[in-house]
Symmetry: D2
Subunit: 140 residues, 4 copies
């Protein structure tokens, strides 16, 4: 079983909307941050470093989905559990669960690819095969 | 066939990330804005007004999904086409397509409910049946 | 001397712009969050609670200013030190310093008032005198 | 007298906070966007293009300040008027006024420099003299 990462965050006032609850789009931001923190915890260098080496600029999304189970608001401490659910040749699936204590707030699923820059302007990027080295670092 | 709304936006520098392309989470924000603009174009009052009347505070999301087809960057003008794909008793499905000229950038699907406030603190909200009056305003 | 609060944060990918550094506007967001965390650390209840009690909805800004000393990027851990520099009858001045280790990244100054809601729609708010109880909680 | 640019925007739901008004940090984002739109209107190419040519990556901020005069909320149409108030050797001052009709919502002042990249990682940037060509394009 692959690595599961826990990312902790306290919800900020600015994350909440006029309904006084977290604006759903922030879950996508937090899942994205949790995804990068997952790689950091596995020892994968920053995308700045990988760009200079192998050319990798990151793991852009092909698809993102989330279900929102319970509202949350500012001042609350949440945990986001993240893991790779599936690796395939050119993409991988990350899953995230945001919880406040035992309460599930949101569940997310991201399909990501590893990408390199294809040209500078307009910034065209191109998917490459999942690097075996990174996959191994993530405990697969 | 229901109403289709076009929301226009010029991508800003701050919308783009270190990969120099739009951060995907912004599409969810823009789809959310396009959804509210859809209702505005149909004549639905602001949620501030509806809260004072029927208690409706808006249309929080139960589920959101988007596929990202092509990258975009700042200074580019995009259009988001939005419509209600399906109404059911307690929820409805909105669809959005973001385009730059003829190029599809992203496609989104949101499941939303109409909600009222159930208590003040913690801010608990509760789904209500889709109001027939709003549904009629939206050309269904 | 009043209380000084330290707010810790790891910079996220989405906080950075195409120049690959933190977009300056995020410092204003983090200073705002640090300001609320300052009050929380002093024992001031959430603005949701104070609104139900005394009517206070928060501490909106009258003026904000920041100087940006050094760039920072994602994955870096920063600390924001926050304190009240001056209390006056109807407003107060908060100061913030963001640091990465010993390096000052940004310094901010906010002039804030305590506000209550004056009407519901359009949402008009009104400054009130600085509550003596809150001022006392903050060690002044 | 230099060029004055008008940037138009309709405030979005996600721009507003639990006090149901625009979170002040968004004015800084909008002023930043208005600043780039100012240069675009003057004929200055995107920073992607200038980076490939002269190396310029943009106009990072050294200092930003804003005063908040009146609250605003979502669905409202605003205009931001922007101009260069002063050019000096290594920096320039932009001013912005955000208005809803005749009501001034916020006034901003930014001190910016033109910058080039000094190294790739960590992303160090360096101020350069204000390019005479750009200054001339902006009607000075």
């Amino acid at each position: 079983m692959g690595y599961h990462h826990i990312h902790r965050y306290r919800i900020a006032f600015v994350d909440c909307d006029p309904a006084q609850i977290v604006h759903f789009s922030n879950y996508f931001r937090w899942f994205d941050t949790a995804s990068r923190e997952f790689f950091t915890a596995c020892g994968v260098p920053s995308w700045r470093d990988t760009e200079r080496g192998s050319g990798l600029i990151g793991t852009p999304l092909v698809d993102a989905q989330a279900s929102f189970r319970n509202p949350a608001t500012y001042g609350e401490d949440i945990e986001i559990e993240s893991w790779v659910d599936r690796w395939s040749g050119k993409s991988f699936v990350m899953r995230h669960v945001a919880r406040r204590g035992d309460t599930v707030l949101a569940e997310g699923r991201e399909v990501r690819v590893f990408a390199v820059r294809d040209s500078v302007d307009p910034p065209v990027i191109r998917a490459v095969a999942v690097p075996a080295g990174i996959r191994a670092m993530c405990g697969d």
